[in-house]
Symmetry: C2
Subunit: 229 residues, 2 copies
């Protein structure tokens, strides 16, 4: 029966199947704990045949990571319509969907998994961060970002990563709360930067003017003023 | 002459010298680009003798990283006196001193250097983060932190790491500005959390009451209110 399945699948189709199977296993246990034997069994083929399509676990891991990276980068795409806070909140929901779906694989990767330090892995992680950065810049309608804006956006992306990792470790806070918290964190970090720099203020003022009075940015401002008083 | 130096040094003394030499080289170029030959030459001993003290480059790298980790963790120690904002600013200055002194080594490590993914390296990085976390908790006089406070502190630590890495990549913003910005970011992230959660508000209120009107926290609040208006 295995042979029958094998005959019907082409090389690319079989590779795609192995990637799907690997990602499914990595979503439940860390890639470190998943063997090629298990992947072969889940795909219904022999261990040597897995090696025919992927020369080693690292190459299968990297192919799976490439698929997951493209998936994640795509979740930052969001129509350029409506208030910015609401757009970012929708992106954060999709981001946490991804983190939720890929839990142990995401943790292992970001905490230093089997392929961390490989140049392929690092390039894939960087490509996701770069896609997120470029999407945010485009939403802000900024083409030539000042150094402070680049810093705020890139450091906020790392804040989103660490928030997701801490959430995965025990899930002690509702993810919906963290999704909106990250939108507010973005507003707060840009506001800190704008509070000290005229160029940042000039970039942000037109954006904030478009925010509705009941949107997440205005809501945060009102709460912070209440907190300070 | 080399032999003379060798005879005078004990095993531990020689190991310490090699660690110093390695850290000095890693402060100017990425550990990936520093060979054992160079370390041997800089220490004035032969390549085989380096291997006598450290069985391979990874073990020397890990020993150097252990020394640097202890150094960095120590920089978070700060007397529990005076306003919190001013204490955190002094810690940030020492943190950027460290980042400045160890530039390429710090970047390589945090971006995925030669030993990233090794359990020793990951444990050392985690030990620094844990030391930073515990110091901050102690300054806040909190012994049993709610999940939201732990999240804010740990995610702010990762924000500090990414801010330092972005700074190292071109140094386009004055580090003194980033040191104070990170203090403000801490205030802003805790304020966001407190704006939505009663428990966080209860933890933070007594702390903020001790802040002077001309301290960084009060300064930020005034600037944010001016920005919002």
């Amino acid at each position: 029966m295995t042979t029958g399945v094998r005959r019907r699948m082409g090389v690319d189709e079989r590779r795609q199947q192995l990637i799907r199977v690997a990602l499914e296993l990595f979503s439940r246990r860390s890639p470190d704990d998943v063997s090629i034997d298990e992947i072969a069994a889940a795909a219904g083929i022999s261990r040597p045949l897995v090696y025919h399509y992927f020369p080693g676990k690292l190459s299968l891991y990297e192919a799976a990571l490439k698929r997951a990276s493209e998936d994640l980068a795509g979740r930052f795409a969001e129509p350029h319509e409506g208030p910015l806070g609401a757009r970012l909140l929708r992106v954060m929901r999709r981001y946490f969907d991804f983190v939720d779906e890929h839990g142990p694989g995401f943790s292992a990767l970001m905490r230093g998994g089997p392929a961390v330090g490989s140049s392929t892995t690092n390039a894939l992680i960087d490509s996701v961060r770069q896609a997120a950065y470029e999407h945010i810049l485009a939403h802000l309608r900024v083409t030539d970002p000042p150094a402070r804006l680049e810093l705020v956006i890139r450091s906020w992306i790392s804040l989103a990563e660490s928030t997701a990792l801490i959430w995965l470790d025990g899930r002690r806070i509702a993810r919906a709360e963290l999704e909106i918290q990250l939108v507010h964190d973005f507003a707060a970090l840009t506001a800190v930067s704008a509070a000290f720099d005229d160029e940042m203020r000039a970039v942000l003022r037109p954006i904030l003017q478009d925010e509705p009075a009941d949107g997440p940015f205005s809501d945060l401002a009102a709460r912070l003023i209440a907190l300070a008083s």
